[in-house]
């Protein structure tokens, strides 16, 4: 007969590897990052205490603020685009349709593929002279777009690619949300003479708020995590328009060896992300309707 004590011992035994791992590979780095943000360090010589100088530098570092603005620009395009296209396709796929599984599977394919591979492919698709995208546009009479060489268009180009890559995932989320709405609700509405559009606007949309929140939060996290896309596609250019904060942090750490400042950037970014997500949750997570 197992005693409570031995159950408890087992509990501690089972969880101790996790706790040890956590201490070493999570708590220690978090602590060390707080140490680093008040030091200057180039990896080879000893760290030097500098108090709040890194933060002061951050405040006036316009390259950081530009990177942040770039990220917000990315989100401003990516999130609405993602929601509109994913929702539209989810609504289309929610109805019984031939080939539903095939479509869902096709849209989902890029989700599982590495972001690096997608970027390498799209870099070619975006080629101004002989890219597939400009070719298709030319078929409908649109002139060649300088996707990656125009400072105003480069970030939207990345946003479009990110939408394409994650579309399948968000379609699945929206589908789950839509299919969770009980049929009787729709039937009741139909009996009162609601049109399809009314159904969508007054039933589907409000009831999808939790899913909407999920999509927004995940897209936001993805946007703040942008690294491999600008790294491979544009190197942060042209004219710094696609420099993301993570890419900038990487540059500061590994091209310039400003370890303390890079840690400060990481700290600031983590703070911003948490504030953003918290705000989004507060704003979008209102009472449920059922």
């Amino acid at each position: 007969m197992q005693s409570e004590q031995s159950k408890s011992k087992t509990g501690i035994l089972f969880t101790s590897p996790y706790v040890i791992h956590l201490l070493v590979f999570f708590l220690y780095p978090v602590g060390f990052s707080l140490y680093l943000v008040v030091h200057r360090w180039d990896l080879i010589t000893d760290p030097k205490y500098v108090g709040l100088r890194n933060f002061k530098y951050l405040m006036s570092d316009h390259l950081f603020w530009q990177a942040l603005a770039n990220t917000l620009y990315f989100l401003a395009i990516h999130i609405p685009l993602q929601i509109i296209v994913a929702l539209a396709l989810a609504v289309a796929l929610a109805k019984p349709l031939k080939g539903r599984v095939f479509f869902r599977a096709t849209f989902f394919l890029p989700v599982v593929i590495s972001g690096a591979a997608v970027t390498i492919l799209w870099q070619r698709l975006y080629s101004t002279e002989d890219g597939l995208i400009n070719y298709v546009l030319s078929l409908v009479g649109i002139d060649a777009v300088p996707w990656l060489t125009d400072p105003g268009i480069a970030m939207p180009a990345i946003a479009i690619m990110a939408t394409w890559k994650n579309l399948g995932l968000y379609i699945v989320f929206f589908l789950a949300g839509i299919l969770a709405i009980p049929q009787p609700v729709y039937e009741a509405a139909k009996m009162e003479g609601a049109s399809s559009w009314d159904e969508f606007r007054y039933i589907t949309l409000p009831l999808l708020k939790p899913t909407m929140l999920l999509v927004v939060v995940m897209s936001t996290l993805g946007g703040f995590n942008l690294f491999i896309e600008p790294y491979v596609m544009t190197g942060g250019g042209p004219l710094g328009s696609t420099m993301s904060v993570v890419l900038y942090m990487y540059k500061q750490a590994f091209s310039f060896q400003h370890m303390g400042y890079a840690a400060t950037l990481g700290f600031a970014l983590a703070l911003i992300i948490m504030v953003c997500v918290f705000t989004q949750k507060k704003y979008l997570d209102s009472e449920r309707y059922y």
Partner: protein, 271 residues
């Protein structure tokens, strides 16, 4: 069929084409001579494996593939194993500090990785694990999400099953292994797929920790190959390398598509 239905189909088919064609085209370019890189069609008279040969000649991509398999495989097994242990303990066992651990699991998932990236790199270097499997594997051995998923699954399993086994003298570990895990197959598959995919596709961390070619992971090597000079800007060869990166996932996906979708969908719901 109504006009609306037709329009929906057109939209869906156009969408599907825009998702499939780029991959087909990439594959096609990788099988054609370098001079044909301008062509946007799929067909050619001169299919060749020369590009793939060139990739193998120029970089140790086979080694990178093995590295990725080994790393992703090890991490996945480790995450499943340890997450099940912790998930089980949190769901079914009573012990001191249980609440604290649960809280820490939640907190660890809320703090963005950017905060710990640089310090973690320094730690790896300090331990002498740069350019080694240890540096690539050990930081990823545990997963908060894995713990949550297992815990959620295990909570639904009735206590009676445990009591019965305990009365027969089974240890906790045996209970976990013989009773709970078999009942948690969906959770295992989900965590397995999520972890394997995440580890396989990871590029930033290997780029920071590994500089020696023999230790690079597959995506890292392909990125370096296409971005650095070794591909010589020869597009067909770059696409061949990219295909090698993408094919393993595409092949697994075509067999296990349902599981992939479920895994990722549930990760979002829980996250």
């Amino acid at each position: 069929m109504s006009v609306r239905r037709l329009l929906v189909y057109v939209m869906l088919i156009a969408g599907a084409v825009s998702f499939i064609y780029p991959f087909l085209w990439m594959g096609s370019i990788s099988l054609r001579p370098i001079s044909e890189f301008h062509d946007l069609g799929l067909f050619s008279e001169n299919y060749t494996l020369a590009n793939y040969q060139a990739v193998f000649d120029r970089i140790p991509i086979g080694r990178a593939f093995i590295n990725s398999c080994f790393i992703a495989g090890t991490v996945t097994c480790s995450v499943i194993f340890f997450s099940s242990l912790v998930g089980y303990s949190l769901a079914k066992l009573q012990f001191k500090g249980q609440g604290a651990i649960m809280a820490i699991v939640m907190i660890s998932m809320m703090i963005p990785g950017q905060l710990t990236l640089i310090p973690l790199y320094q730690l790896i270097v300090y331990l002498g694990w740069a350019d080694s499997y240890l540096g690539l594997i050990v930081p990823s051995l545990m997963s908060g999400l894995g713990i949550l998923i297992f815990r959620q699954t295990f909570i639904t399993i009735p206590y009676e099953l445990m009591e019965a086994a305990r009365m027969e003298g089974a240890s906790e570990f045996q209970i976990l292994r013989k009773i709970f895990l078999p009942l948690a197959k969906p959770a295992i598959v989900t965590i397995g797929i999520l972890t394997f995919m995440g580890s396989w596709n990871e590029v930033l961390w290997p780029m920071i920790v590994v500089h020696e070619k023999a230790m690079m992971t597959l995506p890292q090597m392909v990125v370096l190959f296409t971005k650095g000079g070794e591909s010589g800007g020869q597009f067909g060869i770059e696409m061949a390398a990219n295909m090698m990166l993408v094919l393993p996932i595409i092949i697994s996906y075509s067999f296990f598509q349902k599981y992939f979708v479920e895994a990722l969908a549930s990760s979002g719901i829980k996250g």
